[in-house]
Symmetry: C2
Subunit: 211 residues, 2 copies
Amino acid sequence: MSTKNKILDAAESLFADKGFNGTSLREITSQAEVNLAAVNYHFGSKKELIKAVMSRYMNELSPRLEIALTQVCEQDSPSLIEVFSAFIDPLLSLNDFKNNGTSNFLQLLGRGYTDSQGFLRWFLTTQYPGVIDNFVLAVQKAYPQLSAEEMFWRLHFTMGTVVFTMSSSDALIDIAKSDFERDLQISDVIRNVIPYVAAGVGAPMPVAIRS
Amino acid sequence: MSTKNKILDAAESLFADKGFNGTSLREITSQAEVNLAAVNYHFGSKKELIKAVMSRYMNELSPRLEIALTQVCEQDSPSLIEVFSAFIDPLLSLNDFKNNGTSNFLQLLGRGYTDSQGFLRWFLTTQYPGVIDNFVLAVQKAYPQLSAEEMFWRLHFTMGTVVFTMSSSDALIDIAKSDFERDLQISDVIRNVIPYVAAGVGAPMPVAIRS
DNA sequence: AAGCAGTTTAAACAAGCGTTTAAAATAACG
DNA sequence: CGTTATTTTAAACGCTTGTTTAAACTGCTT
């Protein structure tokens, strides 16, 4: 395996575990068993390494996601459950691409949204706008009464639910095992969260708040 | 104002803005206009300072929250909307206690859950278990069909929604202003999120998943 | 006024950080 | 084989971090 990939793999699992700020280049290069300077040689800087780790997943995920969401949009009257369920297969396919891929990617997403002053939010919205657009279209088709403003809020709430849940999914799976004697996988967590967010987004429109 | 309180105030707003790991003692003491060594003299360590900042709010909030949740439980058949609405007044009362109190506290809560490897989760569940117990009881009364396991998941999803939303509430309020020309407050965000989480927690029980 | 506890201060400490350098090792190619 | 290019390496750089030290200062009591 190439030095570059050894670094990417080590960085990925460490970033997922301890966040971007919480992981040092020395930890990464030592787990990857490469020299410290290799990161700056191959990637330029730590920030570029973070981007590279995220891009590796996004390039795999975003086309599958766009296809799945487009297919939902082509239905006559898709339900919100169907919209959100469109994420399942693309996300789980990351496990074929790499061990613990789904779990790592979702944790990274969570880290990126809270670490680093919203840098990842900028990165995703500017580099992969297609996914977001397709998603908004699908939700609009499934729940046309939802106003643009209400949609804005609920999609952010959903982002929060998913991102937070996934960034702490390891802990949740542990608790579920000790409290309920259930051996769950990340795929179970995904399937669990879908009815929740679908119901949240599908909540009835409130009567007007203020002027 | 005492040195101790100057430090607490500066730390609070900086922690809320940039996270616990992202804020240095030098930033705190310089904004508080006190000597660098004052933190270690008055609080012992940075970790103890974090606890002190959180405790100041929790000691104010948790009794009000317990009262409000108990009142909801005393109703005949409370709705989930009523359960979650019980949080509004106690949370907003933090604004009387301190400028931007509500917003700061909720952002701190978000930071604490993602920074620092779940240290805050431990801190809250061990130091303030009463709030969680009361909350679970209220949800149980409002939605008795919810199994313990499903309850566990949905409360964590809710935690995620709230914590994530609030930790990025400043950005959301900014976007809402530029995109929809609305001048929102943290109280509006709270009111917006309640129908969402109430619907999420109140989602119909799915048919059994696996063994 | 002298002594003393409590507090503040400037300075230094050791450790960790991301990054850079220049030499050594390896690979690729005419 | 010899000569470039590419990659790896050890060492150091400058900087920031949380914490500690010991001296200076404060306000109070006897």
